[in-house]
Amino acid sequence: MMEIIEKKQLKLKLTSSPHIHSDLSSKKAMLYVIIALLPCVISSLVFFGARQFLIILTSIFFTASAEFTVRKIRKQESTLSDGSAFLTGLLLALILPPDFSLSSTAIGAVVSIVIGKEVFGGLGCNIFNPALVGRAFLQAAFPVPMTTWVKTEFPVDAFSGATPLSAYKFDKVITDIFPMFLGNTGGSLGETSAIAIIAGGIFLVFMKIVNWRIPFSIITGSLVFSGIFYLMGKTPDPIFHILAGGLLFGSFFMATDWVTSPLTAKGIWIYGFGIAFLVIVIRVFGGLPEGVMYSILLMNAFVPLINKFTVPLIFGGKDE
């Protein structure tokens, strides 16, 4: 708020209206997302072992230190208190494979913040989702460790060291729905347990941190597009596609990043269905088993364009 005068005797604040504000702040929003990610953190520890916590800690430590250092070097005010660096660190860790090397995690974390966010000017200025930038960098730099999946440690069903998507892509093995729903399959730390993701995701939608249109459009879009290819006999059923890989995690936690998603409702529909289309096309026709990361990054790039063409019609029609 713009404070103009503070009267000494009365200690009154004088600002122009509105005089009240909701209690939502950037910091609080980041905190809500971190809370929403806790079920995913727990599922990663349960299914892949407690030592995965080291990956999470390393990632958060290096994103926070990278932001602090860059800001210091560029003589800018520290923005650590807004919590976004911690969130980026947590998000990055949750999309890395289990038992991933800690030094590589640190590199990915630094890239996320420096290349993904700070070079653009910091929070609110970046084009691409920082955590995905970090992951894309690691995927290019360390392709083998990035696609090496350890077995889940969960005693019920020790599954082979592959993700449901790679198992299908390379061996035509279709994983059962139930373990995919619960989370005891191969995959990145936070992406395997559908139930944990949905729990956190619903919390965010309920708290109005996440625009419900984003997960809704990605999920329904994926159902439709994979349904088409399923009917053509090219791919497993749509439910498999929704539960497999990073689709749920991406649609609730990655594509919903405020900064890198469109502003208007109309724009969001284009963005969401665009992501869904790309994911399914990559999964069905691409060389890679998974395509959520690249789909979101690609659609991130289109967001400025989408915003430009989805300016809503002013109430009462057009001027003149």
Partner: protein
Amino acid sequence: MNFFKNIRTFNGGIHPPEEKQITKDLPLETMPDPEMIVLPTVQHIGRPAKIIAEKGKIVAAGEVIAEADGYISSPVLSSVCGKVEKIGMNSTVSGFQKECIFISKSDNGEIRKYDPINPEYASLDEIRTRIKIAGIVGQGGAAFPTFVKLSPPATKKIEYLIINGCECEPYLTRDYRLMLERPADIIAGLKISMKASGAETGIIGIEENKQDAINILSKLVENENRIFVESVKTKYPQGAEKMLIKAVTGREVPPGKLPVEVGAVIQNVGTAVEVYEAVVKGNPPLYTWLTVSGKGIKNPKNLKVKIGTPLEQVINFCGGLTQDAVKIIAGGPMMGVGQYELSAPVMKATSGIIVLTESEIHSHQETNCLRCGKCIQVCPMNLLPTRLAKLSQLGRIEEAESLGINSCMECGSCVYGCPANIPLVQWIRIGKKSLLKLNQQKKTV
């Protein structure tokens, strides 16, 4: 369960804490007249009134002390009997210094009444003239002269006369109290206004959270076939002119146009009561109704006070400020004006005095825009507040104009929910001012 019922409303809007429970059960109380009344010559939209009272002269209550200057203007009546002590500048609740007439109260004196008019037999002009000379202005906040609203240009036809009982601003309960305490007078005022404007249909729009007001008024219009009570969704800014018209008629007022463009006129419940009083009873409007509320005031009240009573007196009458009071606002907390000079008087269209404490304001630090799009979702005018604010900040005023900056009604919904706490509407206001200047320059060149 009205989950499946289609509730009338508009797109966007916000749900700030209502805080109406503080004063909603307190009946309107008449405050004793203060010793000195201060009457600004500008209490309405339009040209300032021309002062005709002279210093030292004795005036009666209801006597015209400043005349309307031109068509869109409104006379100022003395609200007490007394002596004109001074004519000079004083702070007003609009935040500006304006020319004011100071009148000291005397204990005996007359009230200048009008001849009662029977609206059944009165002519259109008779009613309009009465509303004009009584200086009645819209009580909803903008203070547009009421007779102008009721006199549509020859090319336009008014179909709907809409009484605004939404009171969507948090804290305020005076419209609610008026609806409970004077429902028959509101309907009488509505009928007179319908006659004066030629409207065939009268609608009273009330937010759902005021169910008892809806019940009382619905009961009274049961046997009327041209007057309806509509309950509309409780949402800020439901009481904004264009939003209420959209909710009850489905029509959208085009940008830059007045409601008459779609055949509608909106009147506040308080205005309807004043119209009734002036026409039927012959009483000049000497009072306004106020909600004095907020955690910063010791004894919150709903009041009937003389127009021209200094804020300080009203606040003292309500027990004074608490220790932690930080903001005094004339009007509601969303669109009201912050006050710093308590000698400013209550004006014709002042609807409340709200005193807030830090705990009600929720001020926090401003950060970069996070492009969350919340401001766009809530904007009732479908604008892009974040873009407009940025363009205004960068001085790219013409771009802002093409994105409809002038359609902004400054309701403040965008700022309320902004997680980055960017003063969006404040920047838009600056942008609108610059645009005005730019267009004036263009004209002169």
